[in-house]
Symmetry: C3
Subunit: 220 residues, 3 copies
């Protein structure tokens, strides 16, 4: 019996096994989806099952199925109290879905990416995407903040104006939103003991960022 | 039946109706009261009932009525644990008062401004004005952070030294306090799912800031 | 009966009496231990009983006694979920210990320093040292953030590389970690209504910083 080695790696070491919930946030135009798809590829190559859940999609489906709204723009037009109620109900649905995954993939190491926002810029200010009643349902192991140079974020937004509708047209505002994203992520992480990981997505290096994120998740 | 229009504006749309709780914070000398009185004027002009509750006034009345202290300065001299206890009891009183408003103004759209501080600078550091046990009583829809150029804040403080007692005499300290105000506001907002709204009060433009705040509240 | 004086100092004034819990955080290399030992000296000179509890030591003892790990490095190798579980159990042990102190030192004014981290830099990001389940056990009166010039922090780390293992080798990273420490401290303080105190430890002035900290604690 190699007792020494046993002790060195600790008796409970099961790094990266089981079900990991990874919340991924970042300002619009930071390249979150691209980084996520690269990370997914690496993880699947290493035998992980990866599911990506988009919070906005779940919210949209929720309101459409109930005939409340028909589009994301309509959701944004709802009073904050109503958006909050839907946000909270969707968090519970996501939790149920996450809880069903071990039975769906028995024996597998499962990574759930929850693609969402730490901050939703509304007409009434910066609204938290991970308030207590959401983050305590999701119970993430880590909150990944994808960041990039503010200048390149503005560039990506203007190149894809149909998608981003020029939300953050100047570098100063992008920088401010990025600071709020960090603060909101920290506040949410503190409620559940999750780590906050900053993943840099440098111009033209999304693959590298994806690999970095995948390696980080393997060590969770 | 104009079904199309019905759907476009969403079936539950009641933006700005009912009772809205708006917590307003900002560093001393930022011009919070002036902005608030302008916003109040605009809202009342649009048919809203507006009540402004000053947290400090409620705390003072609480301690004076019970013979605990006679002035704000005396409250500041209390041990932190005792200030915390009073702060918490006052939060409950404010909640009771807010709960009584719909019956007081039946059928009206009511806006409650809670004029308070996100950060109270004490001899023992930056003390949160909206800790969990306060913010969960108030349950604000939004936390409004009134900001201004740090240099102009210092100017206003020095012009009205009797009121501000030179608390933040230099620009660096004002800037630091302003950063802490953002952080504390974000932490509190995360606990209740409130938005954080930054309202800029530029020198000589308090009326504009007030209008901006009023419009923001109409969309809550 | 000097009623006036009685009122001026408030009827419940017991500043600095009883049991005070002071959580102390700061980036590695900031000189936290030195500042703490100076503050301890001043407080003991003024008749206080001071106990310093090191969170890391408690965690190490916990895992060693149960045969889970043998060293701090091994703890770092545990999966985050397991570290979190141990972190939470240790918080409860610390609380029990703190609760036993009034009986141990009857009639004394006791200050408990909890020497810990607001942010633990791990391979999976910045992990909160004071998440909700920890800070609500400790219930600190204040969270003291010891800060220094980032350049001098890097200098101290490189002079004592065996201890700090070059964790933060450049000024930019130290500055970033220091910002996260402030954010995490604010988020934790908001959960319990503790103040956040920044104590500057300038190069060669640890004694002064210790005195400053001691005076601050006397006013708690």
């Amino acid at each position: 019996m190699r007792r020494t080695h046993y002790l060195r790696s600790c008796s409970v070491s099961r790094v990266g096994r089981g079900l990991k919930v990874v919340v991924v946030v970042g300002v619009a135009g930071v390249g979150k989806s691209t980084v996520l798809s690269h990370a997914r590829e690496v993880l699947e190559g290493s035998g992980y099952v990866v599911e990506t859940l988009n919070y906005g999609d779940f919210m949209l489906r929720y309101v459409v199925e109930r005939g409340i709204c028909r589009s994301r723009d309509e959701i944004r037009g709802l009073p904050l109290s109503e958006q909050r109620r839907i946000q909270s109900l969707v968090a519970r649905e996501l939790r149920s879905y996450i809880d069903s995954l071990p039975a769906k993939y028995p024996g597998s190491d499962v990574v759930v990416f929850v693609d969402t926002h730490a901050v939703i810029k509304t007409a009434t200010g910066f609204w938290p995407g991970l308030p207590e009643y959401v983050v305590k349902e999701l119970m993430p192991d880590t909150i990944v903040v994808v960041e990039a140079d503010p200048q390149s974020v503005v560039g990506r937004q203007s190149r894809d104006s149909s998608r981003f509708r020029g939300d953050y047209s100047d570098v100063g505002l992008v920088r401010e939103v990025m600071e709020f994203i960090r603060m909101f992520s920290v506040a949410s992480a503190t409620l559940v003991g999750a780590s906050v990981s900053v993943v840099r997505n440098e111009e033209g290096k999304a693959e590298e960022a994806g690999r970095f994120l995948a390696e980080l998740i393997k060590r969770l």
